[in-house]
């Protein structure tokens, strides 16, 4: 099996997932409504700067959107038996996981941009480096899609997958500097925030919103997110391999 063959099959799996799972209700309820509701709840206090709120909101939309589609797609496939069809196909487990992650990765930028443009216009916030922001959105989407696959690999039905997803999503939503700056949190929570991928996603977006040039911090954030993605993908493939035994 060549890498090219594996990649092309991963692409076909992603395209199929987009066709099948994009319009499922959880993608809308969890992917858009939940983060927007959280945003509105916290923005009324008026204590956070627009750039902080926008980076937090966009990161949340990506987190919820990309993770939700993965939780739905993998678990539904397990329930309907179609996942077995993918497992029987001549594609490596890592290729299969990549295909699944690509579908979640693709929905992230769509929802993020749908939210980013009106919110920026409404709040009068200018995006100083749109390319950096777009890159940060894409890398974050892939990380959260990989996390979604990782958690859903353990689940047997949809509510269980959503429970596992929330176990990761909600602590991240509140401890990664989304609505409360990390610097203002107690020391141990600041340390904890360092192991949460959302922290790096928010930071990278903020760098792109605030700086017209690419900073070292921005590149560091992308590097950490990429490491998280690789870790989640390898762990997901390992979980699937163990399940085959």
């Amino acid at each position: 099996m060549t890498l090219g063959e594996d990649l092309s099959k991963a692409f076909y799996i992603a395209r199929k997932d987009m066709r099948v799972y994009y319009f499922k209700a959880p993608n809308f309820t969890y992917g858009l409504l939940m983060p927007v509701a959280l945003y509105l709840a916290f923005s009324v206090s008026g204590t956070l700067s627009p750039a902080t709120l926008i980076s937090g909101l966009v990161s949340l939309v990506i987190l919820f959107g990309s993770m939700s589609i993965e939780a739905v797609s993998v678990v539904l496939e397990k329930q309907t038996g179609t996942f077995e069809r993918l497992l029987a196909a001549p594609i490596s487990l890592l290729g299969l996981v990549l295909g699944k992650a690509l579908a979640g990765f693709a929905i992230g930028p769509l929802t993020a941009i749908v939210v980013l443009i009106p919110v920026s216009l409404f709040s009068g916030t200018s995006v100083l480096n749109p390319i950096a922001v777009f890159v940060a959105i894409c890398v974050s989407s892939f990380t959260f899609a990989s996390l979604g696959i990782f958690v859903s690999c353990f689940a047997r039905w949809t509510p269980e997958a959503q429970m596992y997803s929330n176990f990761f999503r909600f602590p991240m939503a509140f401890l990664s500097g989304t609505f409360i700056p990390v610097e203002s949190m107690p020391q141990f929570l600041q340390l904890f925030s360092k192991v949460l991928p959302l922290t790096y996603s928010i930071d990278a977006l903020r760098e792109g919103l605030n700086n017209s040039f690419v900073t070292g911090s921005f590149l560091f954030d992308l590097g950490i997110l990429t490491l998280f993605s690789a870790g989640f993908m390898l762990a997901s493939a390992k979980v699937l391999e163990r399940q085959l035994s």
């Binding site: 092309s8 099959k9 076909y12 099948v20 799972y21 179609t82 029987a88 001549p90 490596s92 085959l244």
Partner: protein, 328 residues
């Protein structure tokens, strides 16, 4: 002279689920171009065997070689050459029949030009062409089953695994499917199928392995397995009143008796004058014999004799229409 490599070599396959031994030392070889049947009641280990051979689960020990490729060490190469049709339909209901087939072709790297052509050929073959652009969600169970099978063969596999292919299908669909299996085999595809329809195995298979409680209990051609029960006679009899099977066996020197609806199926040694014995038995008890019918041994008889199961344990009660036998 060249010796053809067997399509499948299963050696000492063992599978444990917790403390349960789902498979124990299962070994068999499937010749290239043949149809091989795995026969057994529900829970015997048929599906587990298929899952191991197709790389969907790993055996606890033993090895499986598919067309020269070890399914554990050389998984992708082995999977490229096999088609898998599972027991339950596994197609995407949110996609059309055509999209399902094309996606299956893409997973097996069927070339771009050939995908659509092959998809429509199969839709025609399985009588689904008129619904090819409809979402699968609106299909009947039989249509979904046919589409699942079409997805399993779109890449023209060298070895096809069919797990209970006709379970739940109407008679017409089952006939179409069996015809397709024969056609594929004629074109060179090796087929391994599991079934608990003994008649189906009898009609299709060159070789049959009977599996019960995770162990292979017999492995031979259907004809040889049937011949193994020759030496005894099978007789169906209906008395005017119900009789006690055990007492009948004792009185008439019969090997065994099973009640099948209103009749008794008797297995009798070939040296027994069965008609005389039954007539004497009926007369002594003031009974009338309504019907008496001698039968040729079937694969079902061989299966019951070899496994020691009664017809209910073997799943006969579930599909009586499919378990017909030839009257002699």
């Amino acid at each position: 002279m060249t010796i053809a490599t067997p399509a499948i070599i299963a050696t000492d396959l063992h599978k444990k689920y917790g403390t349960l031994n789902a498979l124990e030392r299962v070994s068999f070889t499937v010749d290239n171009g043949s149809i091989f049947g795995l026969l057994g009641p529900n829970g015997a280990g048929k599906t587990t065997t298929i899952k191991i051979l197709t790389g969907l689960t790993k055996s606890s020990s033993g090895s499986a070689i598919i067309l020269g490729h070890d399914i554990i060490r050389d998984t992708i190469q082995a999977k490229k050459r096999i088609g898998v049709v599972p027991e339950s339909s596994n197609i995407y209901e949110e996609m059309t029949a055509e999209q399902n087939l094309i996606f299956a072709a893409e997973l097996y790297a069927v070339s771009g030009q050939k995908r659509r052509k092959r998809a429509w050929e199969l839709l025609e073959t399985f009588g689904l062409a008129e619904r090819g652009r409809d979402l699968v969600a609106g299909f009947s169970r039989g249509m979904k089953r046919r589409l699942t099978i079409a997805c399993g063969i779109i890449h023209e596999p060298d070895v096809l695994f069919l797990d209970e292919p006709t379970t739940g299908l109407d008679v017409q669909s089952a006939l179409v499917l069996r015809e397709q299996v024969r056609k594929l085999n004629k074109e060179g595809t090796t087929v391994l199928l599991t079934t608990h329809y003994l008649e189906e195995a009898d009609q299709l298979c060159d070789t049959v392995a009977m599996i019960n409680k995770g162990k292979i209990v017999a492995l031979d051609s259907p004809e040889k397995l049937k011949a193994s029960v020759i030496g005894s006679n099978i007789v169906d009899v209906i008395f005017s009143e119900p009789v006690d099977e055990e007492e009948l066996c004792r009185s008439c020197g019969m090997i065994e008796a099973h009640r099948l609806g209103d009749k008794l199926r008797l297995t009798v040694g070939s040296d027994v004058d069965v008609v005389g014995e039954l007539t004497d038995y009926a007369r002594a008890r003031g009974l009338r014999i309504s019907t008496i019918n001698t039968l040729k041994p079937s694969l079902e008889d061989a299966f019951l004799r070899i496994t020691g199961l009664n017809p209910e344990e073997a799943g006969r009660d579930k599909e009586p229409a499919r378990m017909r036998r030839q009257d002699g």
